[in-house]
């Protein structure tokens, strides 16, 4: 579980996060949604320890991150997996090399053991023929899968994803969403996903927090988001005609 208590983050005169408090439960896919510039990425980078909040605390299973030493923070980060928006695969390494990298850095496993683990996670993300390919030789969807495989290869307790399906076609985006949700359930990890993809919100959002101008405007589940009367949320979620019709149908059905 991750508990976030009243975090503030500024860059110069720009106050990006203005006191966010929430909890992300283990074994659930937690979504952070909001318009571009609402502070989602800064929030995620604060959770990852890449940005240090000026105020507030982030607690990982009872450990207050800011109270840990640098080495303890590094140890904690070895329990985190991250899928970056642009995948952030190492260009100079093959798919296999990218996935094996954390094992080589932090475990004393034999080459054969590492190879077995890499084969297993690549198969888990449905990538079986790309071991020797370089990131420049594979598609965007495959890169995301490699990034997911790299993120889970160390059996992390926490998985963070920054817009995991941006730039993907709708079918691949759904596959990636489903894959993340399956992995979350299978390994019982705490998953936090930044997204503004409404399909993800509806399909896998077990807990959703909506950020607006650096504040937490709303939180709930994907069922509750249909019913909410919060104007900012409804304006964001039902900005497309398709979703407006879906909501209309839902309201009519309910009445």
């Amino acid at each position: 579980m991750i508990q976030v208590e009243n975090i503030h983050k500024s860059f110069g005169d720009t106050h990006v996060l203005k006191g966010i408090t929430t909890e992300f439960e283990q074994g659930k896919t937690n979504l952070v949604i909001g318009q571009s510039g609402s502070g989602k990425t800064v929030f995620l980078k604060c959770l990852l320890g890449l940005f240090e909040p000026e105020e507030g605390t982030i607690i990982y299973n009872g450990q207050v991150y800011s109270e840990l030493s640098i080495n303890e923070q590094r140890d904690l980060r070895q329990n985190m997996g991250m899928v970056f928006q642009g995948s952030a695969l190492f260009d100079s390494m093959t798919v296999e090399g990218n996935v094996m990298f954390p094992l080589e850095m932090f475990t004393k496993q034999s080459k054969a053991e590492m190879q077995d683990r890499v084969d297993f996670v690549l198969e888990r993300v449905n990538l079986v023929d790309a071991h020797k390919k370089f990131p420049s030789e594979i598609s965007g969807g495959m890169k995301k899968r490699v990034a997911i495989a790299r993120a889970i290869v160390m059996n992390p307790e926490y998985l963070f994803c920054d817009e995991p399906n941006s730039g993907l076609d709708p079918k691949t985006a759904i596959l990636i969403d489903n894959l993340i949700q399956e992995i979350t359930k299978e390994y019982h990890i705490t998953t936090v996903i930044n997204t503004h993809d409404m399909n993800s919100v509806m399909e896998i959002g077990e807990k959703i927090i909506f950020l607006k101008n650096g504040y937490k405007e709303w939180e709930g589940t994907n069922k509750e988001i249909f019913k909410t009367d919060n104007e900012a949320v409804t304006n964001f979620v039902y900005s497309s005609e398709l979703f407006k019709k879906v909501r209309q149908m839902y309201i009519e059905e309910r009445n």
Binding site: L50, R74, R77, Q85, G86, A88, F90, F101
Partner: protein, 219 residues
């Protein structure tokens, strides 16, 4: 870490040997020709052409000129490779995994660059060889006279001085471009700008340190 250092030695040192050899050979030749054309008095022995070539190549051309070339070739490579990792969030990925990214990316480059004196030793040898070929085959200095000049008043400390400079320059070539790559902000355009800036600063620092070290060691 060992494999990373070996990889960097391959990229930074062995990958630069071709251009170092090419430039050193022709610079040595040009130094010989220039010296010969300026020493046209019959009272000055031709052996001085070999002497001047040796001194110029060992004291300045091999350590300093080669370092400026390396600041362009290796420095730009270091800045652009680390800068690209920065803009594509690969450095963030390392940090999230719990890797000390500065140590992982920069330390192997600094260690690899301690092999740079070997490249400069090759530059010295090839520069003098180029001078000898230009002198002997261009008709500027007979081979025997040139070789006699090479052996004239040889001061071993001059080679030590050159290698001391080279080690200092190696550290500069590894660190300044790494700094510019690691702390850059922006996108692809800024990677290009950072490479240019790092080359300018590396060259300026090399030139200033060259002056200071020469004053301290030979002055």
């Amino acid at each position: 870490m060992k494999s990373l250092i070996l990889k960097e030695i391959d990229e930074l040192i062995f990958g630069s040997l071709g251009i170092i050899i090419f430039i050193s050979f022709f610079i040595g030749g040009v130094v010989t020709i220039q010296t010969a054309l300026n020493l046209n008095s019959p009272l000055i022995p031709k052996s001085l052409i070999g002497f001047a070539t040796r001194q110029s190549v060992i004291l300045e051309f091999a350590p300093t000129f080669t370092s400026i070339i390396m600041a362009g070739k290796v420095g730009s490579y270091i800045t652009s490779s680390i800068g690209t990792m920065k803009v594509t969030e690969q450095i963030d990925a390392l940090e999230v995994m719990g890797v000390n990214s500065l140590n992982y990316l920069v330390f192997p480059k600094i260690i690899a660059m301690f092999m740079y004196p070997f490249a400069v030793a090759i530059a010295m040898y090839i520069g003098i060889l180029g001078g000898w070929i230009a002198g002997a085959f261009g008709g500027y200095a007979p081979s025997g006279e040139f070789v006699k000049g090479l052996q004239l008043d040889f001061i071993p400390f001059h080679v030590t001085y050159a290698f001391i400079k080279t080690i200092v320059f190696a550290f500069v070539i590894a660190t300044i471009p790494s700094y510019h790559g690691f702390y850059m902000k922006g996108g692809a355009l800024e990677v290009g700008k950072a490479s240019t800036t790092s080359f300018v600063w590396t060259s300026v620092v090399i030139i200033i340190l060259n002056y200071i070290l020469t004053q301290l060691l030979l002055g």
